[in-house]
């Protein structure tokens, strides 16, 4: 049973297209995240949602829009894709603040390639 699952695993698309990445967690966690890992393997937070409410929104182009239909799902929509958006995107989840040291559990990642 996969705890944090992302789809698709690979995404190859042309510049200018709009794409979405889906994330689901079955851990019963309240908080979910999106991270971007660039070619140098640096993992950086993009967004965080707590119980469907946005709580972290780092300096990310507004072409990126997270959507949380319920606390088990956090999807990432990307409009007008650019070459620099090529990276691996990771979804993660954690228990609510103060619980279990806020350990974050990660999905397997979505490798996005923009041509």
């Amino acid at each position: 049973d996969t705890a944090v699952s992302q789809t698709p695993k690979y995404l190859v698309t042309q510049m200018g297209n709009d794409k979405s990445i889906k994330c689901e967690q079955n851990l019963g966690h309240d908080t979910m995240y999106w991270y971007k890992q660039d070619s140098k393997k640096f993992l950086k937070i993009m967004f965080s949602y707590n119980n469907k409410e946005l709580i972290i929104n780092e300096t990310v182009p507004n072409r990126f829009s997270p959507k949380s239909p319920d606390k088990a799902h956090l999807n990432l929509h990307i409009n007008s894709l650019e070459l620099g958006d090529s990276a691996v995107y990771f979804c993660a989840s954690s228990p609510r603040q103060g619980a279990s040291g806020n350990i974050q559990y990660f999905g397997a990642g979505t490798r996005l390639s923009v041509l």
Binding site: L43, Q104, A108
Partner: protein, 112 residues
């Protein structure tokens, strides 16, 4: 200036050759230091959390320690299956309480 710095960037060890990875941080108000392991093509996998200076945690061949400004991940008699990138992250009071700030990782290769 990076808030979390890991060294070395890459480390090659012979099987059985013990060593340590370093994670230093400049943030104040540490609320937790986390070690993760990342295998190629996979997401980070949680290893340890440390909260206060002097704390130690162990798991198989790995032992994590914490001082006031750095943490060490000691690997005793490593095996090839320990090859991975090891990531360090901190949670601190200056950032959102949910937020982890990661270092760039140390890529460990253990040669049989």
């Amino acid at each position: 200036e990076d808030q979390v710095t890991q060294s070395p960037e890459a480390l090659r060890l012979q099987e059985g050759e013990s060593s340590s990875l370093n994670c230093s941080y400049t943030v104040s108000g540490l609320r937790g230091l986390f070690w993760y392991r990342q295998d190629p093509g996979k997401g980070p996998e949680f290893l340890f959390t440390l909260y206060s200076a002097g704390e130690e945690k162990e798991k198989e061949r790995l032992k994590a320690t914490l001082t006031k400004k750095e943490s060490f991940l000691h690997i005793t008699a490593p095996k090839p299956e320990d090859s991975a990138t090891y990531l360090c992250a901190v949670r601190y009071s200056g950032a959102g309480s949910y937020q982890l700030t990661f270092g760039k990782g140390t890529k460990l290769s253990v040669i049989p």
